[in-house]
C-alpha cells in the first residue's frame, strides 16, 4: 500500500478523465476544460518525477511546469476568445 503514491494515481486519473472528456463532450468550452485536465495531469506527473533527486526537488521540471502553467492559460484564453466569437457571430462589424 505504502508503495503507491496517491498523487501518481491522481496524475493518471486526471489525464484519463481529460482524454475521456475531450472525446465525449461536444461543447467547445468543455473540451477546453478537458485539455486543461490533461495538462494538469502532465504537470502532476512531472513534479512527481522531480521528487526523485536525492538532495531537494529537481528545479528543472519545476521551471518547466511553471512555464507550462502560463502557456496553458494563455492558450486557453485564446481558445476562450475563439469560443466567444463562435458563439455570437452575428455581432460582426457592429462596432
Amino acid at each position: 500500500m505504502s508503495g503507491i503514491d496517491p498523487f501518481a494515481l491522481a496524475a493518471a486519473g486526471l489525464m484519463a478523465f481529460g482524454l475521456y472528456g475531450f472525446c465525449v463532450c461536444r461543447h467547445p468550452l468543455r473540451r477546453l476544460l478537458a485539455i486543461n485536465l490533461v495538462g494538469n495531469g502532465v504537470f502532476l506527473a512531472l513534479i512527481l518525477i522531480a521528487r526523485r533527486l536525492p538532495d531537494g526537488p529537481d528545479p528543472v521540471p519545476h521551471a518547466m511546469v511553471l512555464t507550462g502553467i502560463v502557456i496553458a492559460v494563455s492558450a486557453t484564453a485564446f481558445g476562450l476568445a475563439l469560443i466567444r466569437r463562435q458563439a455570437r457571430p452575428e455581432d460582426d462589424g457592429n462596432d
Binding site: D5, F7, A16, G18, G21, C25, R52, V60, A87, R88
Partner: protein, 309 residues
C-alpha cells in the same frame, strides 16, 4: 500527512470526473476552478511552493475569472445540457475504456520507473552559485534555460495577438456600471496591498518562492479587479506606450542576451559581476509584460482606459 495526501488525491479525481460528466456547463467550470485550488494544495505537498503560488494566481484565479466571463457571454440557446456518462452510448463506452487503459498504463509507468537522478537538475543545483539568484527555480527559468522563458513570453504575446484578432468588436459604453458602491471601494482598498504583494513576489523570486510569473499574475489580478469593478475598462484604441510595455520583457531579455555576446561568447550568457542586477532587471521587465498581457487577455481589447466616475 499521508492521509492528507490520500484525501487530496481522491478529491482531485472526484473533481476531474465531475468536470467531464457534469450536466451543465457552469458545474463543469466550478469543478475545474475548485480543482485548481486543490492542485495548489497538492503542489504544496509535493514541495513546489513556486507552483502553488502560480496555480493560485494563474491556474485557479485568472483562468477561473476568464472561464466565468466566457460562460456569461455565451447565449443561453447555445448551451444544452450534456450527459456524458460512459453508459450513454457506444462512443462514450469506447472513450471510457480508452481512458481507463491510459490511466492504468500511466499509473504503472509512474510507479515502476526506477528512481534515477536527473543530470540536468543536479547540474542546475550544483551551478546555483553562478546563477546570480539563490532560488533554484528562478535560476533555471532566467539563466540556465532562459530560451524557454523567452519563448514563453513570445507564446503569451502570440496568444494575446490571436485573441485580439478574433475578438468581437467592442461596444464602448455598453459596460454596465456596478450597481453597488461596495465593489469599487473593495478595489480601492485591495489595490495597494495587492500591488505591494505582486512587486514583492517579483523581487523575492531571487531567494524565495515567487518570481516574474507569479508576481506578474498578481499584478494582472489587480488590473482585473479594477476592470471588474468598473474603474478600468477596455478600449479599442491602444497607445504606443502600451505596446512598448507589452514587448518590454522580450526586448530587455533579448537585448541583454545579444549585447553581452562579445563579453561572454554565448547568446544569453551573463558575465559574473553583472549577473545579479541583470536578473533583477529582466525579472521586473518580464513581470510588467506578463501582467499587461494577462490583463489584456482578460479584457479582450488592445487598449485600456480609465473610467470616469
Amino acid at each position: 500527512m499521508m492521509l492528507l495526501d490520500g484525501v487530496l488525491a481522491l478529491l482531485l479525481l472526484l473533481l476531474a470526473g465531475r468536470c467531464v460528466t457534469a450536466a451543465s456547463l457552469l458545474q463543469a467550470i466550478v469543478a475545474f476552478i475548485v480543482l485548481g485550488l486543490l492542485l495548489a494544495l497538492s503542489w504544496v505537498r509535493l514541495q513546489a511552493p513556486d507552483l502553488a503560488l502560480a496555480e493560485a494566481a494563474i491556474g485557479a484565479g485568472l483562468l477561473g475569472v476568464l472561464l466565468l466571463g466566457t460562460w456569461r457571454h455565451l447565449p443561453a440557446s447555445g448551451i444544452h445540457h450534456e450527459f456524458p456518462w460512459p453508459w450513454h452510448g457506444m462512443k462514450q463506452a469506447v472513450s471510457a475504456l480508452g481512458g481507463l487503459a491510459l490511466a492504468v498504463m500511466l499509473a504503472l509507468a509512474l510507479h515502476e520507473t526506477a528512481p534515477e537522478p536527473a543530470a540536468a537538475g543536479e547540474t542546475a543545483l550544483a551551478q546555483l552559485d553562478a546563477a546570480g539568484v539563490k532560488q533554484p527555480v528562478t535560476a533555471v527559468l532566467l539563466n540556465f534555460r532562459a530560451y524557454d522563458t523567452l519563448l514563453e513570453m513570445g507564446v503569451l504575446l502570440m496568444a494575446l495577438i490571436g485573441a485580439l484578432i478574433v475578438r468581437r468588436p467592442l461596444q464602448d459604453g455598453s459596460r454596465i456600471a456596478p450597481a453597488t458602491l461596495l465593489s469599487p471601494s473593495l478595489a480601492r482598498l485591495f489595490l495597494p496591498p495587492i500591488l505591494l504583494i505582486g512587486l514583492y513576489l517579483v523581487w523575492a523570486g531571487a531567494y524565495s518562492p515567487g518570481g516574474a510569473f507569479q508576481g506578474g499574475a498578481v499584478l494582472a489580478g489587480a488590473g482585473v479587479m479594477l476592470a471588474l469593478t468598473g474603474l478600468l475598462r477596455g478600449a479599442s484604441v491602444d497607445g504606443l506606450w502600451l505596446r512598448g510595455l507589452l514587448a518590454l520583457g522580450a526586448i530587455v531579455f533579448t537585448t541583454a542576451g545579444v549585447l553581452l555576446v562579445p563579453v561572454t561568447g554565448h547568446f544569453m550568457a551573463y558575465p559574473d559581476g553583472l549577473v545579479t542586477p541583470l536578473m533583477v532587471l529582466i525579472e521586473f521587465s518580464l513581470a510588467i509584460s506578463i501582467a499587461l498581457s494577462l490583463l489584456l487577455l482578460f479584457t479582450g481589447t488592445p487598449g485600456l482606459a480609465r473610467s470616469r466616475p
